[in-house]
């Protein structure tokens, strides 16, 4: 895996936007931010491990990976309903990890 810290930070930003939408469900405020916290930590850990991997493990080409993460972020940004935003707070990181060739959890 090549250095993906830049693209992954765009996913992290997308998670923040999903959290902002999801937190409008008052009863779920804490859960929304718990989800964001644990998944951002997981994504950043993957970014650090990927940057240090030598040689890089097999996975999608850099161009395919870039396109995948761009498209996943765009998909997350299509979600306007706060309930679905909460669903996507869990789905986006799992899909991102699959795109990277990582275990999705």
């Amino acid at each position: 895996m090549t250095d993906v810290s830049g693209p992954l930070e765009r996913v992290v930003e997308a998670l923040a936007r999903l959290a902002a939408r999801g937190e409008t469900i008052e009863d779920e405020w804490t859960y929304v931010h718990d989800l964001e916290t644990v998944w951002v930590a997981r994504l950043r850990a993957v970014a650090v491990a990927g940057a240090a991997a030598e040689p890089p493990p097999p996975g999608p080409t850099p161009a395919e990976l870039e396109a995948a993460l761009d498209r996943l972020v765009a998909e997350a940004d299509l979600v306007t309903d706060p309930h679905r935003a909460i669903d996507w707070l869990s789905t986006l990181p799992q899909a991102t990890l699959v795109a990277l060739g990582e275990a999705a959890w």
Binding site: R42, P58, S90, W105
Partner: protein
């Protein structure tokens, strides 16, 4: 401890129609044999907005990209089939797809359990009755009914479906069975990552130590197979 078919109220009749839809069976059969990444694909598509398959192929390069399984290979064909079925579910509209997603998780659970205990021991939409105890209103999605040992499954599409009510109902069944000298294993099946489920459970005060949690990455344990370690 006794099992009983749930009453056929109006909601149950409508939901039975969803459960019987061929699309549910088709999606469940695919997901029962899917890899963890293919299950994540299904989760994303059924949760998603985009209806163009090419966009999803772009989002999942390890399944559809140049370094993924070759076109025409069984693995690639299954990814395409999962994508097509998931798009068909997403295309049913928000309200209906929510019901379909739940029914699919139940159907996948049933299929995987069949591989371990055989179809004859598995029932759907059953209530569990104990002498001297008021019966729960909501039936269990799936039960395994074998002499001496029973299993009760509550199936959820996402971690957000985990609630105090669900946890209490599962644990109550376990406790009542034990009090009656029987054994009942309560299981919560969630088509979502354990990381998200643990976040949900961390805020719950309802009892959960006697309830087994099966998540999207460990679904295969229902069939007696160990989960894959990596995607």
């Amino acid at each position: 401890m006794r099992f009983q078919d749930a009453a056929k109220d109006a909601r149950a009749v409508v939901y039975a129609g969803v459960q019987a839809d061929p699309l549910v069976a088709r999606a469940a059969a695919l997901l029962a044999d899917a890899t963890p990444p293919q299950r994540v694909l299904a989760r994303a598509v059924m949760n998603g907005e985009t209806t163009a398959p090419e966009s999803w192929r772009t989002m999942f390069p390890t399944l559809f990209g140049s370094t993924g399984p070759a076109e025409g290979s069984p693995e690639r064909d299954r990814s395409e089939a999962v994508l097509a079925a998931s798009l068909a579910v997403a295309g049913r509209g928000e309200q209906v797809r929510s019901q379909f997603r739940g029914a699919i998780v139940e159907a996948v659970t049933e299929l995987l359990l069949e591989r371990r205990v055989g179809a004859g021991a598995i029932r759907r939409e059953r209530r569990i009755l104990f002498d001297g105890v008021a019966a729960e209103i909501h039936p269990y999605d799936v039960t395994v009914e074998t002499p001496g040992v029973a299993e009760a499954y509550d199936c959820k599409w996402g971690a957000r479906g985990i609630s105090a009510d669900v946890l209490h109902q599962l644990d109550d069944a376990r406790a009542h069975a034990a009090a009656a000298g029987g054994r009942l294993l309560p299981v919560l099946v969630v088509f979502d990552a354990r990381r998200s489920c643990e976040g949900r459970l961390a805020r719950q005060t309802a009892p959960r130590t006697g309830t087994r949690l099966v998540t999207i990455e460990t679904l295969d344990r229902l069939s007696g197979r160990r989960a894959e370690v990596a995607s």
